[in-house]
Symmetry: C2
Subunit: 329 residues, 2 copies
């Protein structure tokens, strides 16, 4: 069963989930090719191949969006979070949730090529599931993310999104919360509201500014063609998107992904949502936090320098990336 572990040298929780594991010989082989449509557990007609369904949006094929538990969950439904300590080490039960949102019945079309109404249904389901996991009251954070392509870590080709709810506040969320709170304390205004303003004024990193969202290549981009999708109106929680905001976000997300695929082909990528945590005490968070989405095309390889230092080397300036992406449609 999954377990959380913490060591005194790195001081970060790691999830050890050996059910997902393999024998050493399995690691030697290349990971299997994405499953063909006729045996794909996410295709219509193969619903019996997934664990019992959590939610669905009705559609002509029986469903338009479907949510199922991950068959190899990183975290699991323990009765409670038990903490342990042994010498300098800490451990905790791997309490959490791990869900898969099947984006559509279509095995081969990712969000960039689905009809906009379908992307809206997907966004509605993101909000429904994030809301449900938040209300469960058992988690500190709920991470929504997408892995696309083998290079993006997807083990199944059928387009899908994932949600992992964690019983601890992850370090990346902690870092962004601290940064935003600190900025608000020092400058009396929201960091991302200011970023939106600065980036619109500078212009050179802006990819798209229509609608309710700003798409840009960040000043401190770690990767070529990395993108940030920022809501122009202040809001600390993704789940509070209104009906109109959802349509606009679906269009922005599809627009960003379409630009990437039109410029780079079927590029492997990840996207990750950064939104307010479910747990913890964060006075005034509605004023100083501002949700956002990061899109990371997986074109470069992490290597020793990045592991050793925690710094990234980006071989493309974000200004050049934005220029290329502005002209891609």
């Amino acid at each position: 069963m999954p377990e959380l572990r913490w060591g005194p040298l790195r001081r970060r929780w790691v999830i050890v989930a050996p059910e997902r594991g393999k024998r050493p010989s399995d690691f030697r082989a290349q990971s299997p090719s994405p499953t063909a449509a006729d045996e794909c557990p996410f295709c219509p007609g193969n619903e019996h191949l997934t664990p019992p369904e959590i939610a669905r949006t009705p559609g002509p094929a029986g469903w338009a969006v479907r949510v199922v538990p991950n068959k190899f969950p990183a975290l699991a439904d323990y009765p409670e979070l038990e903490l342990g300590k042994k010498g300098p080490f800490r451990r905790a039960t791997g309490l959490g949730a791990h869900e898969v949102i099947i984006d559509s019945p279509d095995h081969s079309r990712d969000l960039d090529r689905l009809p906009l109404e379908q992307v809206e249904r997907v966004v509605d389901m993101y909000i429904a599931r994030l809301g449900a996991l938040r209300s469960a009251g058992r988690f500190q954070y709920v991470q929504l993310f997408k892995n696309h392509g083998k290079g993006g870590g997807a083990s199944l080709a059928h387009p899908h999104t994932q949600i992992i709810a964690t019983p601890v506040l992850p370090p990346e969320a902690q870092g962004r919360l601290s940064a935003a709170r600190r900025h608000f304390a020092a400058h009396g205004r929201c960091l991302i509201c200011q970023l939106v303003e600065e980036e619109l004024a500078a212009g050179e990193r802006v990819v798209e500014e229509g609608g309710h969202f700003l798409i840009l290549s960040p000043y401190d981009a770690r990767f070529p063609f990395e993108l940030l999708v920022l809501p122009r109106a202040h809001s600390h929680r993704f789940v509070e998107l209104s009906g109109e905001g959802r349509t606009s976000f679906a269009r922005a997300l599809q627009g960003a992904l379409s630009r990437l695929s039109s410029l780079l082909g079927d590029v492997p990528y990840n996207f990750v949502l950064h939104t307010a945590p479910c747990g913890g005490d964060w006075p005034g968070i509605e004023d100083w936090y501002h949700w956002h989405l990061e899109i990371i095309p997986r074109l470069t390889q992490l290597a020793g320098f990045e592991w050793g230092t925690g710094m990234f080397i980006n071989p493309m300036s974000p200004e050049a990336a934005a220029e290329h992406l502005r002209t891609a449609v």
Copy 2:
């Protein structure tokens, strides 16, 4: 020219080095296969294909170990570190150094299969170059690392090691320094000296304990078969290894890599050295910091969850990894 950039949301320096860059169409293609031996710039006879040599250890082929500047440096030899600020953003000239240590004239044998005396020569060169860059007095940190295999981020197949000297203290070094200092303040002893003791007592994560080094799979391993090489005697700086210590380290490093390749084949990996910084004021660091080396086999794919949270999911327990590696020779 390379530049350092810092943004207020992530608060970490990123190196933007567009000389290393490509057009969008170059990113679409797979990276080129490792160069064949007859046109390999690191093979004997092709010395004219590298930038002017920095250092060499003499040998039968003219040299046994050779050091050259990286042809596409991540950081460069600027006259000085200029800092700039623009709104919420900071920048700095990409001051630093980026060297390549060619491990041996042999195009196809990595450290696991070279004669021990050659590994010792490589270790001697690590110490010579780290010492020289430290004495330059211009850098805050010097990161030594190795990328092996395409999956490890190596762009050339001929075995080599790299050193990048940075003008800022990298976040990973900062984190380990803080952890070690905090532990010493709280417990009055070195964190890694204590880890060595605890791991030897527990036994289950130990891979090898002979000689002056302990090889183990850490309690909070992020990756399957991740290894930590710890000097058993306290020392804050790698460059202070004595003659006998160097031989012992060469044997430990070769031993660890041999176990990995014997169990997993020619596995892509990175290794990274964590040693005391060259800059900054760290009172008492000789008492509380303890250098160490991490080896990271690249068997799993980073994906959205890791980018979003900064947490890792390890599909193999370090106890199982250690058990497999103990029996591999």
